[in-house]
Symmetry: C2
Subunit: 125 residues, 2 copies
DNA sequence: CTGTATCCGGAGCGATACTG
DNA sequence: CAGTATCGCTCCGGATACAG
């Protein structure tokens, strides 16, 4: 552990961000899982187990670590309800929500691609 | 080698594409390097060495393998000029160019993020 | 239910050497 | 110049077991 005492309170320093905005974005969401987590949280707040199911074949460990990262980056909020059994909900911060256009663009492109792939083997370009 | 005899002629089958369009897109470009290669080729055709410099710290091996993948996916064209010394140029296919909105969305978001990061440590949300 | 702690295999990647 | 071929290592991430 190493996250334990630092969660949302540590901001990424400008100094270790790449100068290129595309690269910056890629570092924040450029991973298969983070993108899918984002996609699912955009539907609204979800519990850990719910998220695990909806994301797909992700393991619990990997989901947890990705959520921790996204929390540190300020994309995700984690809310713990002191109940028993414990309940933990994850949601997007405003910053996280602001990524919507990117995910939407990816969805739009993917739909076009799948359509084409479905009706033909797309026969090359 | 294993690519050698299959370059542009093999299309991805619809059967091994995920049903979710976001996930499909993520599989095609969801890697740090592929995104940056895309970003740079969107400026126009480039030679191998040129691309290597502009992408940044990528090694030649990794650049090559990523270009091969993207070629197989139909995103990139490779043109060899039978000269000496050899010249090889890479460019985007129409499919590759159609990804522009996604990269643009990422750039736009990244710019906003960097602006905020520059003027403050954005102190949480 | 929501995690943390380990173990471990394999992919990813850098470094280097060699080729047409 | 633009690759291919290897070696070696790091670290991601899957499986499993355990805990609050």
């Amino acid at each position: 552990m190493e996250y334990a005492e630092f969660r949302n309170d540590e901001a990424p320093s400008i100094d270790d961000l790449p100068p290129c905005p595309v690269e910056t974005t890629a570092q924040l969401i450029g991973s298969k899982w983070r993108l899918l987590i984002l996609r699912d949280l955009m539907e609204g707040t979800k519990r850990f187990g719910e998220l695990k199911k909806s994301v797909g074949s992700i393991s619990q460990k990997v989901l947890t670590s990705n959520l921790r990262d996204m929390e540190k980056k300020g994309l995700v909020v984690r809310r713990v309800y002191p109940e028993v059994p414990p309940r933990v909900e994850y949601g997007l911060t405003d910053l996280g929500k602001s990524l919507t256009p990117i995910v939407d663009a990816m969805r739009a492109w993917g739909e076009g691609y799948l359509d084409r792939a479905r009706k033909t083997s797309w026969g090359g370009f």
